[in-house]
Each structure stands twice: as structure tokens, then as C-alpha cells.
Chain length 409, copies 4
């Protein structure tokens, strides 16, 4: 592997991490690649900016933030640094940087339109046929597969998998702080300095010293609050559902050989709901969606143009939270009875709210505590707070959500 | 005038102002108008996000922020509230909200491509032929012209003009705090609570109590630093110049009847560098520019596709700061001698850096201090710090900037 | 009642509340009284500054902070303002201001030496024979007893009692933020603006809107963490125990008619462990304790001078956390076997850690939530997080603490 | 020299620096010395807490803060670390820690009563006859004199002198941030992280990279504001003058062989206004002053007891700012004409306000900038802001201050 460094540390200002610091040339080159630059045209929080107006930050700034957290963990935690050779360290940094490179426009919202997990695209982009892949192969022909193994949680060095994909990892630490900062919802604050002081490698796995439990409890409660108050906000969902319905109408018209006024070449491949090629996913960013929405509003089809207008000009559906399936069905029938096409003008869901999952005994996602008397224990066993947030206890009775046009009362 | 209120105060979360609070129905309706929603698709700081990655905030969030500052001034400063009748108050709020509605994509950068001041577009959009105009006329047929008179600093109630367009106004207060927050460059912080405690109406003009001078000095120094460190950053300029050159090449090809593969209907009107219609300016947002850049990179013309690629994938020019015209010319000749078309591959400028202007005696832009012994004095007369920042003293010897491709050494 | 206002609002800078604002003349006069000024000579957190060096804030600043929170609640929450007449409002402000005026030196630590609850002294000082009492009687002869009834939670206007002494009241809101700020332990942060937006009076009691649950959960978790990490820190306890032992030795010598070199008139009344007069409690502040410790170090008695030196120069005992009574006894015997007088050189305790108490059905300390469907429910019934912190679940298995000299291994 | 390290890094929580970290055993031992512990009983800002109620922080927390800044400079700035051998590094840390150990009660206010500069006491305490001196000699017999040479700015390694006593040094960086934080006056904020990134050793002196000028300008303006708004606040001065007058009356009575009821052994040595012994200065802390003020209020002499009461219960003089000597004299005569003893009931002064001094050409106090073209220039030559704050320009026309009893109108 080629560990070439920059002549001088390259820094990016970042309100979350102070600075993002880049020493390895490969990291800087990856940031400059076209697939990575594309992340600037994708909102980190999908449609959330339609509810929290300042949630305008991109996957790009989150991705370099996650990298920076990983970099700090390596540099500031001796037990971790000493457990990893330089190749493993660099693999970790690259995995942190690239873990979200496969996201589509509006991030998670895109997975409703194209039901492929963004991780699959991340893997494809790293695997072949991309600037990123060339850059990686250039310094080590096996590097793409090494990075992919971290993203799949299959790297032989278990620490790498945990630092990228456990309940308290570089990705989550960055996004919790970042999403709080940019939404202005202060729920996600936690003491990241403290977490960096208590994390360590211990007998081949990531653990946290017992004295760090308060900071971890804040982290967990912060995530819980962010999910309830921000990530699952019904109005963001409403915006995203309108996007979904716009596409569904478009697909139906394509299916029926409808003659469009304009050309929509970049979204046609989405029609089959199957996996896209690297070039096709690259070509999809939010400028394409926003631009096409403008063109779609010029077409003749009434439903199509209405949803395009709703999307561009934020004319959202109203949402209702109801307790039973019967109430959901009540709204459904009402929509139909008023002559609306319920395939488009009705949506319902039952969102899940799980914050901390206690996985099976040896699952590497578990948060493990190193107690004062040197035992390693899963956190929910000793923190009543985390226990109260864990999967078997929260969200059992979550409500149904119904979205319908505001004009229907 | 119709002063209808919302049933319930509508709030938007905002990290700068805590919450933006909307009571008047007209304010909410204006925010929902398509011209105002378009501001979500325009970066507040043009190309700055290419240097400060988190400067991704939009004109939309700044505009509701400027409104909120104006709202707080009215509500928290009794001398101002008591000097304005309700019509004037609402006119002020609307002017604060709409003052930037005419901005083009990438804000000030657009004025290089279409050399019309954004204020002219703001006025046109308010004046006629827009959703905003209809909403305003609906509650008072003269409201558009009243709002315009504030934006032109010609409203008979002089306080309104000052609160929107003086050296320390609602607009500047919001953008200084907001741009600092979102870039992560902490330079622009000042104690806004303190400024709100010392601002007042006094004999028909806006003044600040002498005890507020430290906060005002911080404000002025903050602006000075933001200009030097952020707003005039050479790499943002480089990005914006690449956009400019892309358009210049495009215009030249159009002029020469070049046959394009794709349709570029939304930017064709820019060719003449004259003022656009309201519909034409509305149709221009950043999704259009970004999308067209993608298409332009598919055209045959080498210069066009190269600049399109540079723009989309952030392949910036290098910049040099030089002291003399001779040095500028040295770079110019070098570019030419290497066979580059210097109309595209060379750019130079001499940026100005003025922070506080002392205008003529009665100009309403001056910042006036109400001293302890009840006199009204222009601030630079009693603050050596502000004096040191004022126009006759700073920036005389500013350097020239030269932008050329990085491969030229 | 005399509701005289100040000519001009008097403000105190305060990092927690921005400003503390005083409009009523009586409030300002009370702050100037000698009993209230004495609070500047008493640490808010007793011996905590020996562990968190910046925990140097006084009862004075906390008391005006609690007043300010109460003032904001009245002014910013219409349902509460409208439920209280001006007399009740002023009574509330005074009770918030004076609630801690009876604290002895080192706050709670003093209650180990003089086992009278500080509230009893607060009541005595308000009741008679003090500047505070005269000031109160001066504007309304019944005001002392009205204020006392709030402090005793017996005021007929139930809202007042709740705002001063429930689980989420003006006192706790201020100290949680303040103690976090001044210790630098960030655990106690919560969104006080949000709490002020969701608190209200509803059918004669204080409730919080359901949408405020995240802020309340942060509040509760913050308190829980502050107790564990700061308030119950073993080294503060060690410092306070050394003070206790110093006094116990002093009392024993007095009892035995020991002849001292110096005069200790201000602490002699403590000998009987009974309630002091107002003058006696007034005379006790930390300057007295610190000064006498200096003098006591000059006496001949070895134990006395050693504890005086330990106290002044922070020569703390070591602490051990142990699981069983047997282990406690092990240390006890060790101390004795080495020839130390175990009445002084040994201390053990089992601290309790309760954060949220669910009181009986109608107890006014309960935190009540006003749900979306307009029901009033005790918070731990709907918040699994608060439930996890409530009294029947936390701290059952708390460890014993043992304090002994460091030289004993 | 003995460079023994602690077994484990000892940390102190600190809101300004996050943590203060101690690795060298000698540093920890010095902190535990009785002379250093005494600093906990001395307010960092003298009487400022009587105006800004939360300015209750001590010289102790500032001193460990200045040490921490010095420690960070060594550890985070390679050019500085590499210019100093370990002995010089440790000498620097010790000098930063101990630079204020000679302060008397109420810090600078004490120098009005005992007109010896606190630095002289600092030097005496380090030089001999103290726990501190023994600890230092224990690891190197010449260490006391090495530390003293830094404090006197005479150390042969010029960098050490500059890091402790220039216009931007470890001491000033800490106190500016700390005093802002604890007063709640936000004026003194500056970007310390940035300053640490631009400071360096260059040709044997401390310089700052040109790109750090904005941060330095904020630092300078921050100091300027703190002096005007906080350090020179007339009400703190009023409190300190009352203390001064209390002592002057006490000295006069002693001189006249007045028979006191109580013993005042610790302040008697102050009578001659000459330099105290180390034991005498050690014995003076604020508990002594506060306690004696309580006793002095019990004496018969009317002036003495009145000033003692004023001091303890914050009954301050009123202050007037006047422009001319004649106005000062007007107040003076008024006091006399009303029968007050003007030696006690009248005080006037003309405070100076100098922020940045440009010293002689080679003076090490100057702030030197390393420009982009690698020249070293004194900052006020290139920063108009700093120039505007420098000694020849500010404070020429400062007002006189007059303090007299409030009852005189």
C-alpha cells in the first residue's frame, strides 16, 4: 500500500469538528473525485429542510465529518492506534469517508423510489467502474475489497467493523452532532470529547470505560429524541411521499407510453425499481430531481403536474396520527369517496422507533462497557436509561400516520 | 390594510434566532409563495460552500431570519414600536422578509453573469406579475409600492429605511451571525442581545446608546473579518469565475449558431446581459445551473465541456495575489504564450474591502450614537476602532488577484 | 401590598439567564439586605470546588438566578400570569429569591455539623428579627407569613408552591444550568427555552405540554448525571467530612474545658447541635470557618491542628467504594489497629441516588403532562426514560463509601 | 533536573480549557502546596463580583488555566517544542503556574493597601522560605532562580519570557477567556484554537502567522472591551476604595494607640506599607479580610465601623465621571462642606486605558507577525485595528472618576 502524505496538512473548517484534517494524499484525492463531489448535491436529511429550514447540510459535509471522527479516534486513543497497523488505519479512514457515497437524492427518501439499500451502491462504486475505484486500486489493488469488507462488517480486524457500524460509531457520532447543529434542534448534543476519552480497544473489541456511561446515555437519549422530533417528522415524510407519488405517476405514464413534452433520460432507469449502474446512480442528484420537477409541471397530465407543483413549491399533504387500522381505513375511504385517486392521494405508515438494539451475545453492534473491576458488560445491563430505550421496550404502541391532501377535512 | 393574524403563532426552528415566529397571515402566505420557496434553491453565499463545506445555507433561511430580527426590534424596543403604526410595522416586516427575493442562483455570483443588481429583481417581483404581488395587493392595493419604497430607502417613515438598509440593520445582523454559524468561521459573532437593548428611535432616526459601542465595534470588526476571510475568499471567487466563463463560452457559441445536443431554454435569455422578466428570473435557480452544467459537459465544444466539468466537479483555477499591474500582466502573457485562450483561462480583479462607510452628513446609512449627555454623533467620530475600519483607511493597498489553471506553473 | 417599582429596571449580568432583571423595589431592597449579601460568602456547592476547581459560585448568584427564572415564567407564560394576581406574583418572586437565605457555610455540608434543615433557618429569617423581615413587613404586614407559606408548600394558591418546590421548578432549573456551567461538567444542560414554552397552568396546577417531554427527559437525565458525577463526588465529601471531624474534635475539647489560645465565639453556639438564633446563623459564613481553621491550626491539640491543616490545605482522606458492610468494617478495624482514633480517622456512608420521585396521587411535586388529547398524566407513566430514573428503580444497590487517611494502605 | 511523571495523567475539569492536564509530578506537588492552595481564597478579579455577581472565580483556577495554555503551546506547536529542551519546557510550565502566587486578597485591589507589586511577592515565595521553594529545590537546586528569571523576563531562552509576559501570552489568553466566561460579559471571546495554530517560534522569537491577524485583532479588541466594561468598572473600584479607606482608618487608629476590642494580628504588619515577609503575605487571604471586617464593625470608632459595615454589606459610594479637575474639586469641597472627613469620604482618580503597547524596537512584549513573504513585522504596522487601540491613540481624554457617599446629592 502507498501511504503518501500531503506536503502540508489540508484542513477544512467544520463547525462540528473544528477542522477536518487530511494528511494522506489518497484521502484528499478521494474527496476530489467526482462521485464524492456529487454528495454536495444531496441533502443529508432528505426532506427535513422543508420542516427545519436550516437542515440544508449535505452528505458531503457529514462524510468528511465521519472521516474526521475516525481520524481523531485513531490519533487520540492509544489502545486503538496500537491495535491497528497503518494499512488498517488507512482502510478505516477510507471506509469512514466513503460509507455514504452511494446515497441517492434526498438520501433515505430515495430508497422509497428505488428500493435498493444505499450501502449496495456504496459497495458498487468502490468495487469498480468509478474514479474512486481507480484511485483506490492505484495505491493497492486489493484496497477496494478491503474497504468493502469494512462496510459489510466482514473485515478480519473486527475493530474496524465496530468503528464504522456499531451503535456508537464514527458515523453516528458525527451525524448526531451535525444534524442537531444544522436543524437547530439541540436534542442531539452529547459530550464527544468525553466519549473519545473513554473509548478503547480491549481484547480485540471496542469498549467504553464505565466512567463514560453518562456521556453514552446522553448519546442514546439524543438519538432517541432526534428520531422522534426530527428524523421521523411527519412533514418531512409528507414531502418525501409527494416525491414518491410524483415518480409513481411518472412511471405509470411511461408504462402507458404517454408522450411527454420533455426528455427525462436520467430518471427513466428508475422505472424498473431494480439496481442502477454506477453511471446511472452518479447521474442522479437533487439538481436533476428539482429540474425535472420543473419540467414535469409543464406536462399535460393533471396528476403529474399537480404533484410536480406540490413538490417544487412545498404544497404538502396534511398528516394525521391515529391509533387503529380502522381509523386509517376511514381516511382511505374518505379520499376515495371524494373522487381522488387513492393510489396517489393517500398514504399511510406505521413508523418504528428503536434507539438502542441489544443484539445477540457476540454481535459487534452491541455497546460494551469495561467496568471498574475490569469486566466487559453490555451497556443496557447496567444502565437503566439505555435499557429503557432498548428495542423490546419502546415504540410498541406507535401510532399510524396518514397523509392526505389538506383540502380534505 | 388587512392585519389578519394566524390562528396560532407559526414557528420555525432556527439556530440563529432560536425560533422565527409568524403571527400575521400575510407573512406566512408570502413564505409559501412560489417566488419565496425558490430561495431554498439558492445558496446564501454563492460558491463559498466550495471552500467552507458547511456554508450550505440558503437565501430562504437568511430571509426569514432577517424578518425575525425586524420582528424582534419592533417587539422588544418600545421607542421603535411606539414610533410606528401597525401598517408601518407590517410594511417593515414584509420588506425584511422580501428584500432578497430577487437574487439569482449563487446569489452575488449571478450578478457577474447578468449585470443587474438583485434589488431591481426584488422590486420587479413585488411590483407585478407574481404570486407575491397578488398576495400583497390582496390586503392593500398600495402595499407593493409601500414595500418597494422601503427597499429603495424612500419610505416617508425614515425609520423603516434605516432598519432595512443601514450599516447595522436587520439584514446585516442576521447574515453576520448566520454566515458565521454555517461556515464555522467564528469571526462574525457579536452580542445581538446587547444591540437590541441599545437600539432605539430618537427624534425620528435610529440611534444606539453609547453603552452599546463595544457590541457595535464587535459587529463592525466581525463584518471586516468575514469580508476578508470568507466573503472574498479567492477559492469561492475561483468557482464563481469558472461559472462565469462557462456562461461566456456558452453565449459565444449561441452567438455563432453552434448546434447543441441539448436544449437550454432557461438560460438562453441571459445572452443579452439585459434585465430578465419575472418569469425568467423565477425559472433560474441552482438546480437549473447544476443540471445544465451536466448537459453542457456532453457537448462537443472542448472549452465548453471542460468548464462544465470544472464547475460540476470543483476543478478550480489556482489563484495568486500580486502587488502590481505588471505582475498581473506577467501571468496574462504566460497563459497566452502557452496557447490557452485568455478570454477563458485568465481572470484578474482587485477586490475592495470596505467595512464601515461614513456617508454624507444626513445619510441614513450612518450609524448614530446617542451619547450619555444626549447628543447624536456618528460612530466613527468617537470609536477609534470603527474609524480604523472606515472607508478612507482600509483597503487602499489591496492586492490584485489572478486566476489561472493549476497546471500552469 | 405596596407594589412600588424601580425608576429604571435594574439588571445584573448573568451567564445563565443573560440578565437578571429587577423591577420591584422590594426585590432590590431584599438583595441589598445584609442577610442576602451574606450569601456571597457561601459556596453554592459546598466543598465541590475542591474537586471541580471552578465550582466557586455562591448561593447569592443562584438565588438571583432562581428569582429570574420565576420572573420569566410569570412574564412569558400567559396561563400562569393570568392565574395569579399581582400579590401572588410578587410573593412568588420573593419566595424564589429568598428560598436559600438560611443556608450555612458550605451549604449542605453545614447540615452535617448543625443538623437543622436550611429551610428552617430560611423561615426564621423571614419570620422575624432580620432586615429581610423588616423590609417585607414594611410593604405588607402579612407578607412574611405569605412567603413562608410558599416555602412550606402550604400557600392556598397551589401554583406558587409548585413553581418553587416541585421536581421541575425555578430553583432546580437554575441550579442545574448554573452548576453545569460553573463546574464545567456539561451534564446538566437542558433546553430551558423549550421548558418555558411548554409549561402552563391548567385547572389550577402546573403542567407541561406533551411536546416538551424530550426537554424534560434531558432535564431529568441531567439531574441524574449531576448527582452521580458532581454532587455526590467522593472527594467533595472527603473535604466536608474533614470539616465535620474538625468541628467534632473542637466540640469535644470544649466539652472537656480545653484551654484554647484563641477566641472562637462565632462557632461556640454550634456545640449543642440545636437550632441557632438568626444572629448566630448570620454570623456564620465561610470567612469565619476559614479564618478559624487558620487559628485552630495554631492550637496544641494534635488532632485538632491536623484536621485544621487538612481543611485549609486540602489534605483529603482517600475514599474507597465497597459493596458490603463487611468490607466497610475491614477498613474500620484497620484504622483502629494502626492506632488512629476511629472517631476522627474513619467515616463511612451509603449515599442514595434518586432523581425523580413519583409521589402520591395528588402530591404537588409530581411532574404532570398535558397530553395531546388533553389528559393530565404523571410523566413517568408515559416516558420510559423518566420511569427508568424514578425512585423505585435506581440506586438500590449503591455502594458504601469509606474515607480514611491516604497513608493507610 | 528530575523530570518524574505522575503514574497517570491527573486532570482537572475546566470550562475554559476543557481539562487541565498534569503529567509532571512537580506540577501536581506545587498545586498541592499551601501557598498555591491559598489562591483559592483570593478572587481573580478583586471586587468585580460586587458588580458582575458571577465573577467569583479565584486566582487558583486562573493559575492552573495559564499553566494549561502553556502546556498546550508546548505540545501543539512543533516549532516551539523543538526550540526548548525538557528543562526549559518544565521551567515554562512552572512559571506559568506560579506567576500569580504572590497576589494579595482581592488581587490588584490589595496593591492599593500594600503598594508592592504582586510580582515581588511571587518572586520572594519562589526564592526561599516556602513549601514551593522546597519543592523546586528538591528537583533542581537552581530551579527557583530559573523560574524567577522567566518571571523577571530575564531568562536566556527568550521564548520563555515571551510566552509568559508579552502582549499575547499564556496568562492573558487564559484570563481574557476566563474573565469573560465567569462575568458573563462576552466581550473577551477570541478564537484560542486559531491563535494556537498560528503561533510559532521563528529565529528565536515568538511570532504569529499573518493569517492569524483576525484572531489577534479579536483578542486585542476583547481586552480593550474587558478593560472598559469590566476591569475598570466604577462600582468595583468603589468597593475596593471602601476597603482601602477601612484600612487607612484602621492604620490611623493604630498609629494613635487606639484600644481595640479585638485582636487583628494578621493585618498589623500592613501598617508600614512596606514589603511583607512570606509568612505575612501567606497569612493574608480574603477570609481574613472578611472576618476582620466583621470584628471591626464591632469597634467603637464611628468611621471604622461604618466602613466595615459598608464593606461587608456592599454599601458602596456613588461615582461620577467628570471631565475637568474643577468638577472633581467641586465634589471634594461639597463633601467637606457637609462635615464629612474628606480623607475617607472622598476619592478621585483618572484611569488609564491602554490596550496594546508598541514597545521599543527589540522589546519582547511586542506582538510580531510573520508575513506571507516571510518578514517579521510589529502588528500595529499592518493592522489598522490594533493601531487604533495602541497607546498613543486611546485614552487621552479619559474622564476623572469621583467617589462619594450616595446620600450626598
Amino acid at each position: 500500500m502507498n501511504f503518501e502524505k500531503m506536503n502540508e496538512t489540508k484542513v477544512f473548517r467544520d463547525p462540528i469538528n473544528g477542522y477536518v484534517k487530511v494528511d494522506y494524499k489518497i484521502i484528499y484525492d478521494l474527496i476530489c473525485s467526482k462521485e464524492f463531489q456529487r454528495l454536495k448535491r444531496i441533502h443529508q436529511l432528505g426532506g427535513t429542510f422543508q420542516v427545519f429550514p436550516t437542515a440544508e447540510h449535505s452528505r458531503f459535509s457529514h462524510s468528511i465529518g465521519a472521516y474526521e471522527i475516525a481520524r481523531r479516534i485513531i490519533n487520540e486513543v492509544p489502545t486503538i492506534k496500537n491495535s491497528l497497523n497503518e494499512e488498517e488505519q488507512l482502510t478505516l479512514l477510507i471506509a469512514a469517508l466513503l460509507h455514504d457515497v452511494g446515497h441517492g437524492p434526498f438520501s433515505h427518501a430515495f430508497e422509497m423510489i428505488n428500493p435498493i439499500h444505499h450501502e449496495e451502491y456504496t459497495i458498487s462504486i468502490i468495487k469498480d467502474n468509478s474514479e474512486i475505484n481507480s484511485l483506490l486500486k492505484n495505491i493497492d489493488v486489493d484496497l477496494p475489497s478491503k474497504v468493502i469488507s469494512v462496510i459489510k462488517k466482514e473485515h478480519p480486524q473486527r475493530l474496524l467493523n465496530q468503528l464504522i457500524s456499531s451503535q456508537v460509531d464514527a458515523d453516528r457520532m458525527d451525524y448526531l452532532l451535525r444534524d442537531s447543529y444544522f436543524t437547530g434542534a439541540t436534542y442531539g448534543y452529547f459530550d464527544v470529547e468525553r466519549v473519545l476519552r473513554v473509548i478503547r480497544a480491549h481484547e480485540g473489541q471496542i469498549v467504553f470505560k464505565e466512567s463514560g456511561i453518562p456521556a453514552l446515555e446522553n448519546f442514546m437519549l439524543g438519538r432517541y429524541h432526534m428520531y422522534k422530533q426530527v428524523y421521523h417528522h411527519s412533514s418531512s415524510l409528507s414531502y418525501e411521499v409527494i416525491l414518491l407519488k410524483l415518480f409513481e405517476r411518472f412511471f405509470e405514464l411511461v408504462e402507458n407510453n404517454y408522450v411527454f413534452k420533455n426528455d427525462y433520460k436520467y430518471i427513466l432507469p428508475l422505472k424498473n425499481k431494480s439496481k442502477l449502474s454506477n453511471q446511472e446512480i452518479y447521474d442522479l442528484d437533487e439538481s436533476v430531481i428539482n429540474f425535472y420537477a420543473k419540467l414535469l409541471a409543464e406536462e399535460e397530465d393533471k396528476i403529474l403536474r399537480e404533484f410536480a407543483d406540490r413538490f417544487t413549491n412545498r404544497k404538502l399533504f396534511a398528516f394525521y396520527e391515529v391509533k387503529t387500522k380502522e381509523e386509517v381505513e376511514y381516511y382511505h375511504q374518505k379520499v376515495k369517496s371524494l373522487g381522488y385517486d387513492d393510489r396517489y392521494y393517500f398514504f399511510s405508515d406505521r413508523p418504528k422507533q428503536i434507539v438502542y438494539k441489544k443484539y445477540g451475545k457476540n454481535d459487534l453492534s452491541n455497546v460494551m462497557i469495561l467496568t471498574k473491576d475490569n469486566k466487559v458488560v453490555e451497556i443496557s445491563k447496567i444502565s437503566p436509561v439505555v435499557k429503557s430505550l432498548s428495542s423490546d421496550r419502546v415504540g410498541d404502541d406507535s401510532d399510524y400516520i396518514v397523509l392526505i391532501p389538506k383540502e380534505i377535512k
